[in-house]
């Protein structure tokens, strides 16, 4: 299995390092050829407006959308969560997302940078224990549709959710040196999803 990390903008190098620590093949993805070469995709933290803008400019946007819709496993942190959401609130009028995850996400829901925080976070059973979660101008999930499971909440809003093939977190595990979320994505989301396809 080869996991791509969308490398248009944001902290994609940190995601690459986390995935390498999980023992998978990793490659940055900026072009369609690079996308075609990976089995799963991680969408990093960054500015969701900028990433969406660049993806459209370089004509990789529709391709990512199509791949996700047809079952490519993907994980998004923060901006990545926004980009995986079917619907977003508090965004510029014409901001598009790749979608695929039946959730409504509110951008910058926890506030501006002075409100950014870190906190211990508890996950539902089966998930790997307490985690130090870093929230930076973070979004939260306002509503979840059928087939979306809430894995963790903060201030009574979901901040980690998954479907069969997609995982999204409001926070940034790539900044903490704790690779359990990436390992969870690789072992519990991506591998089972890809096995089913084959």
């Amino acid at each position: 299995m080869k996991v791509g990390v969308l490398g248009l903008q944001g902290d994609f190098r940190e995601h690459i390092n986390s995935l390498i620590a999980c023992g998978v093949d990793v490659a940055p993805v900026r072009r369609i050829e690079e996308l075609n070469d990976v089995d799963a995709l991680v969408i990093p933290g960054g500015e969701s407006t900028t990433i969406a803008h660049l993806a459209q400019t370089f004509e990789i946007f529709d391709e990512i959308k199509t791949r996700i819709a047809s079952g490519m496993p993907a994980y998004g942190s923060c901006a990545g969560m926004i980009l995986l959401a079917d619907q977003i609130l508090d965004a510029p009028k014409d901001q598009k997302t790749f979608g695929g995850l039946d959730i409504v996400v509110r951008r910058n829901a926890f506030g501006r940078q002075v409100d950014s925080f870190e906190s211990d976070l508890e996950f539902k059973d089966g998930f790997p224990g307490l985690l130090k979660a870093v929230f930076i101008r973070a979004p939260w999930v306002e509503k979840t549709g059928a087939g979306v499971e809430v894995l963790a909440s903060m201030q009574s809003h979901p901040v980690a959710v998954r479907s069969k093939t997609l995982l999204a977190t409001s926070f940034h595990p790539e900044l903490t040196g704790d690779h359990r979320i990436h390992q969870y994505f690789v072992d519990q989301v991506a591998r089972p999803a890809l096995k089913k396809v084959q």
């Binding site: 490398g7 248009l8 903008q9 944001g10 902290d11 994609f12 190098r13 940190e14 900026r30 933290g45 960054g46 500015e47 407006t49 900028t50 803008h53 660049l54 400019t57 370089f58 923060c78 901006a79 508090d90 965004a91 510029p92 951008r107 910058n108 506030g111 501006r112 940078q113 002075v114 409100d115 950014s116 925080f117 870190e118 906190s119 211990d120 976070l121 508890e122 870093v134 929230f135 930076i136 101008r137 940034h172 900044l175 903490t176």
Partner: protein, 295 residues
């Protein structure tokens, strides 16, 4: 499950999210919107862009809170603002306005010619300019969560940005080559704390994100800075002092992402109209060189 704000990880992490992006100087809500639509990762709200500060002279200060709030209301991307070097009350004001980052900036007229702001006292993170590694580490020691090489703001001349990036990079590479027992003297020479010097020697990089600034005016300038190891680019006067700001802004964003692909940089450089006129740094009299402010 205590929620803690203003931690080092939260402040430095915010800068990590800006990597690979362009931060643009804007003086009103319309420009901020143009910047956001062009793909800027953040905007820097200020009263006058550096080129105008240079042309008009006088004392340059923090912006009007009304103007900053209008910009905050008009865009969803982070909004930064500048405080004068050492002016901790301007910084307190900016923090109370909920700006996302404060630039303690040599572009404004310094308020203190010996001390910088004690940035540990703030919840909001700070970015500071540096011309060399020692200066960068002194700022980090005072609590800066992001560094930008200074360049020479408001000139459209990239040569000083280049010089500062080479200097910072070169000094980091030199530290990595030293024996451990030589780092004490290296710290003395850099006039920087030993612990930070040792950390840089071990990791081969600054402990915070390093952007570049000061004189970047074209997509090729932006790509050059990325190739020199910058994590991202500030563009001040270069965009809104040019013929076609929206197009130039988008072009600089593209060139910053694909800095290593000359074809993309070439396409981004096409048909942009006039770049800002610019001033050669060599023609600036020494007292007008902003990069020499800061200590």
């Amino acid at each position: 499950m205590a929620e803690v704000t203003g931690t080092g990880r939260v402040k430095r992490g915010m800068a990590e999210m800006l990597k690979g992006g362009v931060i643009m100087d804007v003086v009103n809500a319309e420009q901020a919107k143009i910047a956001e639509d062009a793909g800027a990762v953040a905007v820097m709200a200020l009263e006058r862009v550096p080129a105008d500060i240079r042309a008009q002279g006088g004392v340059a200060r923090m912006s009007d809170p009304d103007m900053i709030e209008k910009i905050q209301a008009s865009v969803s991307i982070p909004v930064m603002a500048k405080a004068r070097i050492g002016h901790f009350v301007e910084a307190q004001v900016l923090q109370s306005l909920n700006v996302d980052y404060i630039d303690e900036s040599e572009v404004l007229t310094p308020s203190d010619y010996e001390n910088h702001i004690d940035k540990w006292n703030f919840t909001v993170p700070f970015v500071c300019g540096a011309t060399n590694l020692g200066e960068a580490l002194r700022r980090i020691n005072e609590g800066a969560a992001m560094i930008r090489s200074k360049g020479e703001a408001g000139t459209g001349d990239v040569s000083n940005a280049m010089m500062h990036m080479r200097k910072i990079g070169g000094e980091i590479r030199r530290l990595s080559s030293l024996r451990e027992d030589e780092l004490y003297v290296a710290a003395k020479e850099l006039q920087a704390p030993y612990a930070l010097v040792k950390e840089v020697a071990e990791t081969g990089k600054l402990p915070v994100v390093l952007f570049t600034a000061g004189g970047i005016a074209t997509p090729a300038d932006a790509a050059l800075m990325m190739a020199m190891g910058a994590d991202g680019v500030f563009i001040g006067s270069g965009i809104f002092k040019s013929g076609n700001p929206a197009q130039r802004a988008a072009a600089c964003v593209r060139a910053t992402t694909f800095w290593d692909d000359p074809k993309v940089v070439a396409d981004a450089s096409r048909g942009l109209g006039e770049a800002m006129v610019g001033i050669n740094v060599a023609d600036l009299p020494a007292p007008h060189r902003l990069s020499e402010r800061g200590w």
